[in-house]
């Protein structure tokens, strides 16, 4: 058996960027094509973006919508901690009067724009439910609800990690590590409902569109 050359390793690494299902179908062809030509920077970047495009195309809606939400919450978290190291976390995870005695995740609730309180995150959950049903055809609406739940679990990762870090540093005073870690979890039933509503809309809209077309 021949040892792997540098080119073999680069081709293998590039192919690993593509989804496994895609690799099974087109992997040998792309690998053969890459081996038949010099691997310049332009080719590498082109294949890299090709892999990214295939990942996005094959990803579930909750991953596509949840990733920017995760980055936004992580960014807000870093910004609030940098601007006020003592109260930064409290600003992002304020006490909640609507959930079980615990805290809530600010960006997952509402965003104040001027004098309006907009539930931007709720729209994201509805869009996730709608997209799940619209993309996969006639699926059960509960699946749209669970897609929204998975979105919240993904987007809430920075808050759960923050809770773990608080637990490790054995910090005292509110909010406690458990309160922070469970903050995204207490929102799951409500978010399931938003996803369900989005799924119902996703079922309704294409049916109307088809009727108009005919």
């Amino acid at each position: 058996m021949h040892p792997m050359s540098t080119k073999d390793r680069i081709v293998r690494a590039l192919l690993s960027l593509y989804p496994a299902e895609w690799r099974r179908e087109y992997g040998p062809e792309l690998s053969g094509l890459l081996h038949s030509q010099p691997l310049g920077a332009r080719v590498v970047v082109d294949v890299l973006f090709g892999g990214l495009r295939q990942r996005v195309r094959s990803a579930e809606p909750w991953v596509i919508l949840g990733t920017p939400a995760l980055l936004a919450i992580a960014g807000l978290f870093a910004w609030s901690m940098a601007s006020d190291s003592r109260n930064g976390l409290s600003a992002l995870v304020p006490p909640s009067g609507i959930t079980f005695p615990t805290y809530t995740v600010g960006p997952m609730n509402s965003v104040r724009m001027g004098s309006y309180e907009l539930d931007v995150y709720a729209f994201l959950l509805i869009a996730c439910g709608w997209w799940t049903v619209a993309r996969d055809g006639c699926v059960r609406l509960s699946r749209a609800g669970f897609a929204a739940v998975k979105l919240t679990l993904l987007a809430g990762t920075p808050i759960i990690v923050a809770g773990m870090l608080i637990a490790l540093s054995v910090r005292t005073g509110p909010p406690s590590a458990l309160e922070v870690m469970t903050a995204p979890l207490f929102m799951l039933p409500q978010h399931w409902l938003f996803g369900y509503i989005g799924g119902a809309l996703g079922r309704h809209v294409p049916r109307r569109a088809r009727t108009v077309k005919v």
């Binding site: 087109y26 040998p28 890459l34 080719v43 090709g50």
Partner: protein, 104 residues
């Protein structure tokens, strides 16, 4: 070599691949070489296979069985019809545009 169209519908990878396959089945490398010859555009391998994946999903092309690593692709009847329609539309727009550009 043909002049390279930098932007616009004539540089669309899907259209270029369909046009290449109009002359018969080809595998990935042959499509790349053919497109470079007739359009002056060098499709990257990632761009090529992204477009091939979409065309297969749309059932405009189909892979043929092959013993080797490189599978050839063939234009389907739907692919040929869609390509003819698209090129016809483009020709109509191009003719009108060129006519209007000519000085009276």
């Amino acid at each position: 070599m043909a002049r390279k169209p930098r932007t616009g519908p004539a540089s669309d990878p899907e259209l270029l691949i369909l046009s290449s396959l109009a002359s018969g089945p080809k595998h990935g490398y042959a499509i790349m070489s053919d497109v470079e010859t007739f359009a002056g555009i060098k499709l990257g391998p990632g761009t090529l296979y992204t477009a091939i994946t979409r065309l297969v999903e749309k059932k405009l092309i189909v892979p043929l069985s092959s013993a080797g690593r490189q599978r050839p692709y063939r234009l389907t009847a739907k692919g040929a019809t869609d390509l003819a329609q698209l090129l016809d539309d483009m020709r109509r727009v191009a003719t009108i545009g060129l006519t209007r550009l000519r000085p009276a």
